[in-house]
Point group: C2
Chain length 530, copies 2
Amino acid sequence: MSPPAAVDVDSGSASATGPLTVDAIPALRAKSAKIPLGVAPATHSDLFKSPYCYTKPHAKRWDDVFSIEAKARKTSTLKGAAQFLKNPGLISLGGGLPSPEYFPFDELSVKVPTPPAFSPEESHKSGSVITAKKGDSRDGTSCYDLEVALNYGQATGSPQLLRFVTEHTELIHNPPYSDWQCCLTPGSTFAWDAVLRILCNRGDYIMMEEYTFSSAKETALPLGLKVAGVKMDEQGLLPEALDEILTNWDEATRGGAKPRVLYTIPTGQNPTGATQGVERRKAVYKVAQKHDIIIVEDEPYYFLQMQPYTGADGQPVPPPANHADFIRSLVPSYLSLDVDGRVCRIESFSKVLTPGSRAGWLVAPEQFIERYSRHSETTAQNPSGISQILLFKLLDEHWGHSGYLDWLINLRMQYTGRRDALVIACEKHLPGEIASWVAPDAGMFHWIGIDWQKHPGLAAGKTRDQIEEQIFLSAVDSKVLVSRGSWFTASESSGEGKMFFRATFAAASSENIEEAIRRLGEALRVQFGL
Amino acid sequence: MSPPAAVDVDSGSASATGPLTVDAIPALRAKSAKIPLGVAPATHSDLFKSPYCYTKPHAKRWDDVFSIEAKARKTSTLKGAAQFLKNPGLISLGGGLPSPEYFPFDELSVKVPTPPAFSPEESHKSGSVITAKKGDSRDGTSCYDLEVALNYGQATGSPQLLRFVTEHTELIHNPPYSDWQCCLTPGSTFAWDAVLRILCNRGDYIMMEEYTFSSAKETALPLGLKVAGVKMDEQGLLPEALDEILTNWDEATRGGAKPRVLYTIPTGQNPTGATQGVERRKAVYKVAQKHDIIIVEDEPYYFLQMQPYTGADGQPVPPPANHADFIRSLVPSYLSLDVDGRVCRIESFSKVLTPGSRAGWLVAPEQFIERYSRHSETTAQNPSGISQILLFKLLDEHWGHSGYLDWLINLRMQYTGRRDALVIACEKHLPGEIASWVAPDAGMFHWIGIDWQKHPGLAAGKTRDQIEEQIFLSAVDSKVLVSRGSWFTASESSGEGKMFFRATFAAASSENIEEAIRRLGEALRVQFGL
């Protein structure tokens, strides 16, 4: 990787000497390479990073962690021929791209909120209608037109949306090494499957939090992978537990080599709601360095970090005063601590804009992103062009970075209200004798511990699993659905002796949340004979 | 599989005794189960198939072809809990679905052509604007609203779009066994990768046409698969060659077990443009039965079947008189001949509507579709909901099946014009002494054979590959890009002694097509000293 020609690393200009800010982006764009307007152009994040990035050291090499499959991938034969397309005057009868005159979509419009009028009601009444047409780039209306969005694209995604997420990544995380890159993904579920196929061979172990997103585990198991669960506390993953597993790894007992990949949800973890503090992250990173581990941070809930919980009668904490304040309030990501280039960050719009777009992105060292792009070329190719142009129109052309940060601050306050409603309902309605919790700092989930050893079923010879099922079904009978903690265990030894239920405050209304928790409390009282 | 309650198989009503027609669809819908209006509902094609389907025999079992990975897939833990959601009055704090009030898209509109005014100009001037809003299903405006489309979905896709493709599949292909199903895919490239991972283990062989879509081969190779190329003629795949390979398969010499999977592009094959006639397909199917082979038919060009080529001075053949005529004019698919249920059909909107939607579908026996859905759940999940709702609005609500068939007929005539322009240009400008071709019946590609043994480089000791490269670069120097035939060889022994170039008539204008072929003719004359 080398900086693009347009970036003058040695200029000593302001932008080369400090982290990127929202205000500096117009100047950065003015100096950067122009967005290519044609169909499926080659692109990469280096075109859009600030000169400051290039003052940093390079990432470590990942050669020794790539899977057999990833090592075998070659550049697409047909994409290789694209080099000739730039010859002036050339007529191509080469590629099999359909002609845009046969795309039966002449114009695409979407009504979206304008900051700060973000509520559904305001959006509906006074939202702005933004439009993409087929000829927008020909007449200079936009650098991304419908003709291009409706055609094939590159695995990296369109340069238009890639530029936005690259700048956003630099604004928020400012990675401490130089050759990081972004690549769009058709959603985090796809990205995690791809990461596993790129980094692991059948029979390998990976490490996950002892309670983890069950789908993430179910992605790994059919690939022939095994999971070692890492113990957690209220801040999630315990670095000492991670170190202990790796230091004492015995290949023969485990039936597999010492793992190289750690999967973690550091912020608002699913299912526990735990958020790793900055010191915790630094300690985990140190263990990763000691054992040369790749950290995969799956971060859908990063921007669902909330205001501190101040209790039913407490004074609410005022929202962040401005963008800089907001960014400072966010717990540092692993990416932002990644001096070695050993972090692969899976980013998502699902919890902050819409899951239906099936568009997210990855951030990782160039060497990994290159392998991911090869993988993507022969699988999902790229996220829907229709999703991409709508996200671009909203994020880049309508909101800009500033408006997007406003949206995220708004979301923070909304989720704070929901979290508060749930926690206050728990304080009011759950029996404190057997139920305990910590108010979550981020995410959508509240993790309720149950002192199941006080359950009368125990004396009657029932197992923990049977009691958990009985409580779960009794809650369902009381017309409230929560998730059983055992659904989320990373391995058979995970969560021994403990019992939890997961409740989410993402979807139900405040009134429904309180009613649901009231019903849960009732069910618990009946179950425990309280 | 059993027919849904709403379908009365034994009624002896007209719809149970004959193939589905466009006109019968409203009555079928009236009898079928209602489209569920909620977020991410479970769905499957059986809800939408006509009673006639259930009068047919069941598909063969596929148990012995599933890969280690496919066999290991289990039902998602969290999706299992969804069964409780239908309990009346239940409040769910279970799933992690975000609340639609935080999706910043209030309304989505698209301007599309209304049959028969399909041209870009007509579409632009007088197209209809169709709109999806957040509350459409609440106020009865539509069975598919933006709130649902913007949220998570099931791997099968939304029931709204799945219904349309299921009906379309029955209309066009009328599979001769009962338990076929459709499942949406995020594009054919993804689907082919998934099919391979579901049917093959590392070290397995698959069979492909000796010249094949290079990306399809490049999808297979990194998975540790090997390719046996099957010889072709002007109608594509040769059944005798297929039978010979399988009959004489020697595991030791080949270094792999006898293959079970045949990949074919039967219509407008990429790169050769060849279309298998119906007798050819029947013969290939018989060989597949003899050796118990799964046929994967990749059919992006099926609806790019064109009018017969009648030459520069010939009388054009009039377009199909009506829908029935059009459907009859189409060469039968493998799916339509599939009495055993051994065909997996990969369907695409990329060449007939837009590649940018990254949405297509699969048709295969229920047993396979079930494994595919499990695969999809932990990879791409489902195509973009934004793409899905736009396709639904256009295909189902605006055009209906009738309007879509009109669109496809229009496309047939458009491509006929393009193909004619290319073939007539070849007749006019290419040196007949060394160049030969057959006018393609379908697709986007024209395959030009070159009698390279007449090239002066041969006497000078050059190899076929070197001469191919020299001709290619000389064409590039003359400002025309075509693709080298050797880029598409399935295996090293493919296409021995022959030389081809592929030209596409999909993208360039008629004038540019003629100019490009003129340049190619010039380059060939210089190369061969004519």
